[in-house]
């Protein structure tokens, strides 16, 4: 498979995440779109890792090509921590303003 196919697939998924952040007002859905963007990046990193594994310099040491997959592993770790804190913040916001609409978070404005 050509690497460009994976690049374009990841870009489409990432753009759908961006559009979701732009068009939705529910804070939880916006948060889920951020997760979708993280996953698009993960997919691209794994594809690049497997592209790298084909180059002849890497053939001798298989651990070298797996660096990108270690990065994906750490992205998942950070995403899990981020979700726990972010959902706590959203629950706190719901408790204070009784809605998850991000348009109600304009109190810093005036």
């Amino acid at each position: 498979m050509d690497i460009k196919a994976y690049i374009i697939l990841s870009l489409v998924l990432f753009t759908i995440g961006i559009i979701g952040v732009l068009v939705r007002r529910n804070a939880i859905i916006i948060f889920m779109c951020v997760e979708l963007m993280l996953n698009a990046v993960n997919l691209l990193l794994v594809a690049f890792s497997k592209m790298h594994a084909l180059s002849s310099a890497v053939k001798a040491s298989p651990g070298y090509a797996s660096d990108a997959q270690i990065f994906v592993f750490f992205i998942m770790v950070v995403a899990a921590a981020e979700v726990s804190v972010g959902l706590a913040i959203i629950v706190m916001m719901y408790r204070n303003v009784h809605t998850v609409d991000v348009n109600f978070l304009n109190r810093l404005k005036n």
């Binding site: 489409v12 979708l36 794994v46 890792s49 497997k50 298989p62 804190v85």
Partner: protein, 174 residues
């Protein structure tokens, strides 16, 4: 067209279609369920790339733990299609157009790259648990340990933020 290309196209259509359904469905619960379908499709991509460890971790951590947390919060707040805040039509159109313009620019830039690089499908040991574990515990041991500190601080942070603030709640209005 061989079977690998067919599976790739099938998984790509499944992930992109589910992602579009996720941002367009009214009910937050449906959005969460569509996002789980996206994660399963991406896990299928990992299996196709022979990244077995990441495929399993993606299902367990993302589709399992994180999405259950999302679903739990959505159901705790009793969100449904009626209470869903809707952005006005013009702003939605602006968002879609600007996102589409971004996609257009980056895809046209990518198409200009003159490369014939291929991706190794179905074979290769870069994604096996043994290779990844050796690499993780030899070269990336320090980030691995630091991530445990990150988890601890995230856990404490979530508890502190989510704690009910009694003195603020019970304070008389004056």
């Amino acid at each position: 067209m061989n079977i690998t290309t067919l599976v790739f196209i099938l998984l790509s259509v499944m992930s992109v279609g589910s992602a579009i359904m996720m941002i367009s469905s009214k009910s937050p619960v449906h959005s969460v369920l569509w996002l789980i379908v996206v994660f399963f499709a991406i896990s299928g991509h990992y299996i196709l790339l022979n990244a077995q460890f990441l495929a399993i971790v993606n299902i367990i951590v993302y589709a399992g733990a994180i999405m259950v947390l999302f679903l739990f919060v959505v159901m705790l707040m009793n969100l449904n299609a009626e209470t869903e805040p809707i952005k006005n039509y013009r702003l939605q159109l602006v968002g879609i157009i600007s996102g589409g313009a971004l996609l257009l620019v980056i895809v046209s830039a990518v198409m200009k790259i003159d490369t014939e690089q291929l991706v190794e499908m179905k074979v290769g040991d870069a994604g096996l648990i043994k290779v990844l574990g050796m690499n993780l515990f030899k070269n990336y041991i320090l980030p691995f340990e630091i991530s445990s500190v990150l988890f601890l601080s995230a856990m404490i942070g979530a508890v502190v933020i989510g704690k009910k603030d009694d003195e603020v709640v019970n304070k008389p209005e004056n």
